[in-house]
Amino acid sequence: MNLNATIIGQLIAFAVFVMFCMKYVWPPITAILEERQKKIAEGLEAAERAQRDLNLAQNKAADELRAAKQQGAELIEQANKRANQIIDEAKDKARLEGQRLITAAQAEIEMETQRAREALRAQVAAIAVAGAEKILGHAIDQAANEELMNKLAAEL
């Protein structure tokens, strides 16, 4: 264990190495570390922000879905209502049409009956006149018995 000039050599080497480290090693590494720290902080912040945005978007989507469902339900209800209405209207129309047809038919029947009756009456009158002529043996004065014939025909 003897001290010699190695001590000076080591001292100089130490000084040089520390200076080198101070100039070329420490600053870049600490700069990189700091930069990474900043990056990580930014990344975390961005992730948080994205999470928040995602939550907002999810809420919004849920709201819109709910609104759409409601709207859909309303539309269906409206459509049902409208369909019922159309059916009712159609029913009413059909009933009215039926009624009208029945009435028309009845009127025609009435008319036909009337006409047949008229024809019958005329023929009965003619038959009655002819019968009476036969009975009486001569022609009845058409004009003089007109009233009588008509009364007879009306009674038939």
Partner: protein, 282 residues
């Protein structure tokens, strides 16, 4: 027990073995005035102060360059994005140093971080040399030089010159920043007027001066002592034949802890002393 018998029988050679391993490859001026490598421990001692331990100096410089080179290599490819394996590893070290500096050093000085990083990594690498089996590097050096009796010490921190070199560097910084922050008067006043006020000046000096120089001793001698002792035990283990394998393993595992701990301690003490130099209130 059988081994101890062997050891006793070969006491001379075992002692020589240890002695040889504790010698340095010293370059200096011989007694006859010529320059060259010392051929024995005594010769090295006779060379006096103006000689240099080539082995510890060389390994120290190589490891220092390895440290700086590794960091520079990593920085050249570094990104602030996802780090690769090496970058990640080095960043862990830098962050560890940075955290310790932040928690311990309350002044404002850009030197402390790089200083602490250099001390930690460099001393760690030097210390880690003692995990390489004690004979490998000397044998390699002997093979390269072609001299089978070459002295070669592989662990620079077992050389007091190296640890003292670190300690002197830190000591100069302590004094420089003490004077810079407190002024020369404030710096000397700390020795003269604390802790008992100015009327007990001699007593204050007696208390404070040893404390001040203890900083140097605690840096240089603690590290040196730990590794010198560890090295000697490795050498002794190296003498016990095949039984050295489990023993060597155990002591190495223990030394993994010591290697890291001593490097960490040197760094922490440096930061603490630098902090004291920057504190204006005593």
């Amino acid at each position: 027990m059988a081994n101890s018998h062997e050891v006793v029988e070969t006491t001379q050679t075992a002692s020589e073995y240890v002695q040889h391993h504790l010698g340095f490859l010293t370059y200096g001026k011989h007694a006859d005035g010529t320059w060259g490598f010392a051929h024995s421990v005594e010769e090295a001692r006779e060379m006096g102060f103006w000689a240099i331990n080539v082995d510890s100096m060389m390994i120290s410089l190589l490891l220092g360059l390895l440290f700086l080179g590794l960091f520079r290599f990593s920085i050249s490819k570094a990104t602030s994005g996802k780090p690769g394996g090496l970058q990640n590893f080095l960043e862990i070290i830098v962050e560890m140093v940075q955290t310790n500096v932040k928690n311990t050093f309350f002044g404002k000085n850009d030197l402390v971080g790089p200083l602490a990083l250099t001390i930690f990594c460099w001393i760690f690498l030097m210390n880690a040399m003692d995990l390489i089996p004690v004979d490998i590097i000397p044998m390699f050096a002997q093979w390269v030089s072609g001299n089978p009796h070459l002295y070669f010490k592989a662990v620079p921190t077992t050389d007091l010159n190296i640890t003292a070199g670190f300690a002197i560097g830190v000591f100069i910084l302590i004094i420089y920043y003490s004077i810079k922050v407190k002024g020369l008067g404030g710096f000397l006043g700390e020795f003269a007027f604390h802790p008992f006020g100015k009327w007990a000046l001699p007593l204050n000096l007696l208390l404070e001066l040893p404390g001040f120089f203890a900083k140097f001793v605690s840096l240089a001698l603690r590290l040196y002592g730990n590794f010198f002792a560890g090295e000697v035990i490795f050498l002794v283990i190296g003498l016990v034949g095949y039984w050295q394998l489990p023993m060597h393993f155990g002591w190495s595992v223990f030394h993994i802890l010591v290697v890291t701990l001593q490097a960490y301690l040197f760094m922490m003490l440096t930061i603490v002393y630098m902090n004291q130099a920057h504190q204006t209130t005593h």
